[in-house]
Symmetry: C2
Subunit: 184 residues, 2 copies
């Protein structure tokens, strides 16, 4: 597919669907649930996107409809070329780096505030990051981990979130002190 068509879509929704279907076959509805739960904080998607993309993917031969169940349920399965495309994306396509940061955009314009306000803002950010970190710790404590690959990669993804929120908290705290000495 990436050979046939001229423009390769950077969009990752299709690859998210391929990745989910690589583990087990599912209906659009099932996949939608996955986007609402496990993928909600990684790659959100809406109905229109999921059902639309499933249609395109099966038209391109990356998916097959392998069963039709009750209520018009269509069960999608990944095809060999679907697996090839997934693997290609995973290993060979370089991830586009994150380009937008609302937080940094704000930092750019903190110079329009006076230092005390800027310090307060940054302190609030540090507190927010600490809250995120605590939330993730709670998730970590409550999930039942086992020895499956899914658990392992879940732990690895969670660890990323933990480290990220930690560094945000430390940075915001440091930045607040740079801007103005802490209020006594």
């Amino acid at each position: 597919m990436s050979i046939l068509s001229g423009k390769v879509p950077v969009m990752s929704l299709r690859h998210a669907l391929l990745g989910l279907l690589a583990n087990r076959s599912a209906s659009g509805y099932d996949l939608l649930k996955a986007f609402e739960t496990s993928l909600a904080n990684v790659w959100p998607a809406t109905q229109s996107q999921v059902y639309g993309e499933l249609g395109k993917l099966s038209a391109e031969g990356l998916l097959d409809v392998t069963a039709e169940g009750p209520r018009g349920r269509k069960e999608y399965s990944i095809t060999t070329s679907g697996r090839t495309e997934l693997r290609h994306w995973l290993v060979e396509v370089e991830p586009e780096r994150v380009r937008r940061s609302g937080m940094l955009l704000r930092v750019f314009f903190l110079d329009t505030l006076d230092p005390a306000e800027a310090r307060d803002y940054l302190a609030a950010q540090a507190a927010a990051a600490a809250g995120t970190h605590a939330g993730l710790r709670e998730v970590e404590a409550n999930v039942e981990w086992d020895d499956s690959p899914l658990s392992m990669y879940g732990r690895i993804a969670l660890e990323y979130g933990l480290r990220l929120s930690q560094v945000q908290r430390e940075w915001a705290k440091w930045a607040a002190e740079q801007v103005a000495p802490p209020a006594q």
Copy 2:
């Protein structure tokens, strides 16, 4: 404006423009250059967006056209209500957290690869993050910092990038070791 209209746009392009114009008046073209250079890695925007948004902002009274120069150049200046809106956004509107991460999406599907491949992928990510870090160090060394607020907030933003790439590198390295013991 945020009082009058029912729905508050989350979009930050307008606030980026207000922030730039809070420091000095400029034309659309000038602002476009700012988006191509200093804001390129924080909040990218295209012509169509910039010119379109400038029109809306001045229609809403957040900006004024204070001068018309050669070649149809229009110089925009921020108004009092523009400053109010900027301040509101900076201080009171909570930043929407980052929701999408192509990197984490990939991690979710690394279980479709065998461990050795997954380890190699993560090692490549660690190397890429190290490269980013080195690039930022170079920027840090070459910029001429002074005592202006602009310099201070620039340093703070840069520090965020440095810490972020550092934590990405360390995490990817750690993750690779979790997935499979390092090859000798």
